[in-house]
Amino acid sequence: MIHSDIMVSDPSKSLFRRINIYLIGSLIALNLIGLVNLLSATTNIARHLRGVFNDQMIWISLGWLLIFFITAIGYRVFIRLAYVIYALNILALIAVMVIGKSSYGAQRWIDLGFFNYQPSETMKLAMILVMARYLSRFDPRIGMDFKDLLIPGLLIGLPFALTAKQPDLGTALLILMVTGLMLLTMKIRFRVLLSALCLALIAGPVVWKVGLKPYQKNRVLTFLYPNRDPRGAGYNSIQAKIAVGSGQIFGKGFRNGSQSQLEFLPEKQTDFIFCVLSEEYGFLGCIATLGIYAILLLSIIQTMIMARDMEAALMCVGIFALILWHVFINTGMVTGLLPIVGVPLPLISYGGTSTLTIMAGLGWVSSIYFRKDMFG
């Protein structure tokens, strides 16, 4: 009941000291790498895509505004509103399903005029919030038991089902993996882990039989047996591998990647952007980029360790998981470690929703670091 103002006025905690410079620095670096790469990826792309670079500049600027705004208002607001945000997002997902029915096939967005709002993207953030709020009551020394996981299971299951139904299996799995890492960090009893593993082994074949659309099965099979369908995903995967590998150690240089420039790569400004980077800047470029990601992720862990409450720490874990999984799945897919899934590379791939989501999440982290020494 004493100290909040004193701490803020402590001269050693100047405004500058309250900013996580590793976070901000690595973020700026990734933005720059992304933009330079985009210039390269869009040289001879069809005319209507020339706006890609300008668009991305706008998204990044908006992202920075978001970071400042969130840092200013603080993260507690979000925690307080966690369940409301979660519920609204679920409603938006349902709305997309209803609207999506009228058009052909899968629809994942709502047209807001200036922007195609994709509720499944913001759902990732809402999921982190609601889990942070709910899990904060548990004791990480004991570990979570079956009964503790009932409500988190429901909270995860609903958006999982809704996004999987769209069908957007990539996002659905990401929701599962991000929340999974949060739960793991909170500690899960061994017997629970063991049962989950058994369940997965049993459920796997069932999901394969009834849960997956033919095209999804096709992607997995193609990954396992590239010879099976060398035209479709197999072909992309092979071309991507050639692009990455041909960069060798030093790369071919800016706009000199023959694979990238000769249009052998699909979606090269979005999901396959890492190909352009590794072809043109080689192993060194990849190491540097991954290194910067590592700095960003480490700065999030650093913030998490300094967080002043459970919710804040858990939010950091969630954002960490979000970025780590995106980076791993994207680079893994491009290099042939994983099947082809439509997952963007955070902060480097072109795309408004992805850029804004990640930067909003980093806004939370920044805000948590900003308030790490306050009592409230």
């Binding site: 590998g245 590592a294 470690l337």
Partner: protein, 640 residues
């Protein structure tokens, strides 16, 4: 409260420690990616660099040959011919106009047409889809194009497969046509699990080519060719990359063995071409095998294999005689008097009449406050049921219709396969309609009027049937009530010739089964068969002109109005009406009478009279006898 805060701060400290989990995940996942990068960029870097620099991969989807379609004696009805086609790949073309100027004189296509085709394809399919500019290149054209390839990028000569029906328009409706899968069909096929189908693949679009597409289509192969950085094919040893890419040969489609008989199909077409009428013929045997299925006018499916021009397509679609429709199965129409045998069977089985009951059949019949007419001015006097069928008396059947009632007639007619899909192995079959009182209440919201029984009794009003259904039902009448499912395919064999699926005869309903509500005794079938015999052979028979020597047929004619429901208007002044309002002529006949083998149904559209269909049936039977009973034919010669 205080305790809670302390508790929570302990929790928080513990959670901070758990940051180790995050360090571990970060380290493991990033190491995996790093190791993979080392493998690809450092260890395999040289190989992959060479690929990207000199040897770009271009993959070509190799279309599989579709299965061959045979007639019942193994004669080829649809096959595959080689087609050397000139294709252009827009992604490699530098100057479209320049290329078109140079190509134009070689292949004799105006330069602006070539540029137009290229631009259209880019608009519709993007840069990566090659455009077929000309099919069936001659050897001189191929040589000249090969020379041009040295100066221009993006030109290719592809060996494609041409799906050919050697008898051109003869089997158009039975076999159908093929074409490139459309962007609307593609997602539907993939939903059904046909994951191999991709844009540019050839699929069956109608007829058997469509219905049995999953058998006949085969699986496309992939061939990888090395191309230099400019997209030209590079010569050299066949490509093996990391052991991952081998050429994948296409898998041939399976062969379809139809029940059709080329000679009979030809006879059907010839018989139709002698007349001026449009319409259809279907011939079906005791086991439901369809021997001939012909719809007139017809079209040439080879035009579709070539890639149909928009003029040709619109002329087919806008032709008022609707050549693309399979009139034998898609058009359901009033059966008219051909429905009378079903009414006769109902009346006999429900004992409203017996074989020898005499019923007076004057020229008009008054019911309610309306007069219903016969098609004769005089009427037929007192007649039995067989005579009524022979002369096609309307008044006789008006009376039976009233006595039996619509629901009982419907029960027997439906058991004989009318008013529902026969299950023929073609898509878009029309189900026809046999009304009941319940049907009318449900669909029209009105109760059944007794007067409507009169219309039903002579096959007008709501009654609708395809000639396929009628042929199948008459075959069943000839066999004392055994209804088989009609079919066009006997078996499917793989390219090596092994049978992979057989489609045996399928008995759908047996009206001779006494335990069933629709049971009809063999005696009653005999009575109606006698009536049908007299139609073609009696001195008053409406189809007595159909007689052929040594081969007795039995059947029923029908002249069915196209519009309006009132029975008394049927026979008025047909020829003065606009064509589309004139009556349809029908004749359905089985033969030989003693041991029925085959039933033929013929529709002549808007011919005003069944007598226009009779000669077509007769011609067809003459060909049938010539082929299947040549002994009877020689007897005639001896007699002469």
């Amino acid at each position: 409260m205080r305790l809670n805060i302390i508790h929570e701060s302990y929790n928080l400290k513990e959670l901070h420690k758990r940051g180790i989990v995050l360090y571990i995940f970060l380290a493991v996942l990033f190491s995996l990616v790093l190791m993979r990068l080392v493998w690809l960029q450092i260890i395999q870097g040289d190989t992959l660099y060479a690929f990207s620099e000199k040897n770009l991969l271009k993959e070509i989807r190799v279309q599989p040959p579709r299965g061959v379609i045979f007639d019942r004696f193994g004669r080829i009805l649809a096959e595959n011919l080689p087609n050397f086609a000139l294709t252009l790949s827009p992604q490699y073309i530098k100057n479209t106009e320049d290329l078109a100027e140079h190509l134009s004189p070689i292949i004799d296509i105006p330069a602006q047409d070539i540029t137009h085709e290229i631009k259209k394809s880019i608009r519709q399919n993007g840069n990566y889809r090659p455009v077929v500019i000309k099919n069936f290149l001659s050897w001189t054209e191929i040589n000249k194009v090969e020379l041009l390839k040295l100066d221009f990028q993006g030109i290719d000569i592809e060996e494609l497969i041409f799906r050919s029906q050697p008898y051109k328009d003869l089997f158009a409706h039975a076999l159908g046509y093929i074409g490139e899968v459309s962007s609307r069909e593609l997602p539907r096929l993939q939903e059904k699990g046909e994951i191999h189908v991709q844009q540019g693949d050839i699929i069956g679009k109608s007829g058997l080519e469509d219905r049995y597409d999953s058998y006949a289509r085969g699986v496309p192969g992939i061939s990888f060719v090395k191309v230099d950085a400019k997209g030209r094919e590079a010569l050299g040893e066949s490509l093996k990359f990391l052991g991952h890419i081998d050429d994948l040969p296409p898998k041939h489609g399976d062969n379809l063995h139809t029940t059709l008989d080329l000679d009979l199909q030809q006879a059907a077409a010839d018989a139709f071409k002698k007349t001026e009428y449009t319409g259809a013929l279907i011939a079906i045997n005791r086991e439901g095998e369809i021997l001939a299925l012909y719809s007139h006018p017809t079209f040439d499916p080879n035009d579709f294999s070539k890639g149909i021009t928009s003029q040709k397509w619109s002329s087919l679609v806008n032709n008022p005689s609707k050549p693309l429709r399979n009139k034998a199965i898609q058009d359901h129409l009033s059966p008219g008097s051909t429905f009378k045998p079903f009414v006769a069977l109902s009346a006999l089985q429900t004992k409203k009449i017996s074989e020898n009951s005499l019923v007076s059949a004057p020229s008009a019949f008054r019911f309610g406050n309306r007069t219903y007419h016969d098609h004769t001015q005089t009427g037929q006097g007192s007649i039995t049921v067989t005579q009524a069928i022979e002369m096609s008396s309307n008044v006789f059947f008006y009376k039976q219709g009233l006595a039996v009632g619509v629901d009982t007639i419907a029960q027997y007619a439906k058991a004989l396969g009318l008013g529902k899909l026969t299950g023929i192995d073609l898509k878009n079959e029309a189900p026809g309609l046999i009304p009941t009182t319940e049907w009318k209440k449900l669909n029209r919201g009105e109760p059944w009027q007794e007067g409507e029984n009169l219309n039903i009794a002579i096959g007008q009003g709501y009654v609708n049937a395809t000639i396929l259904q009628l042929a199948n039902a008459y075959m069943a009448i000839a066999m004392n009530g055994k209804v088989y499912q009609p079919r066009l395919i006997n078996k499917v064999t793989n390219p090596r010739g092994d049978t992979i699926q057989e489609f045996p005869a399928l008995l759908v309903t047996d009206l001779g089964d006494e335990s069933k509500p629709y049971y009809i005794s063999a005696e009653n079938f005999k009575v109606v068969q006698k009536g049908l015999y007299r139609v073609a052979n009696g001195e008053h028979g409406t189809a007595r002109s159909s007689k052929i020597p040594n081969f007795i047929i039995a059947g029923k004619t029908g002249t069915a109005q196209v519009r309006g429901f009132s029975a008394d208007e049927i026979y008025k002044s047909c020829y003065v009406r606009p064509l589309k309002q004139r009556h349809n002529g029908l004749f359905i006949a089985y033969g030989p009478y003693e041991t029925p083998e085959i039933t033929v149904a013929v529709l002549t559209e808007h011919s005003c009279s069944s007598s226009k269909s009779v000669p077509i049936v007769r011609d067809f039977y003459q060909s049938y006898v010539a082929k299947y009973h040549p002994d009877r034919l020689s007897k005639t010669k001896d007699m002469k």
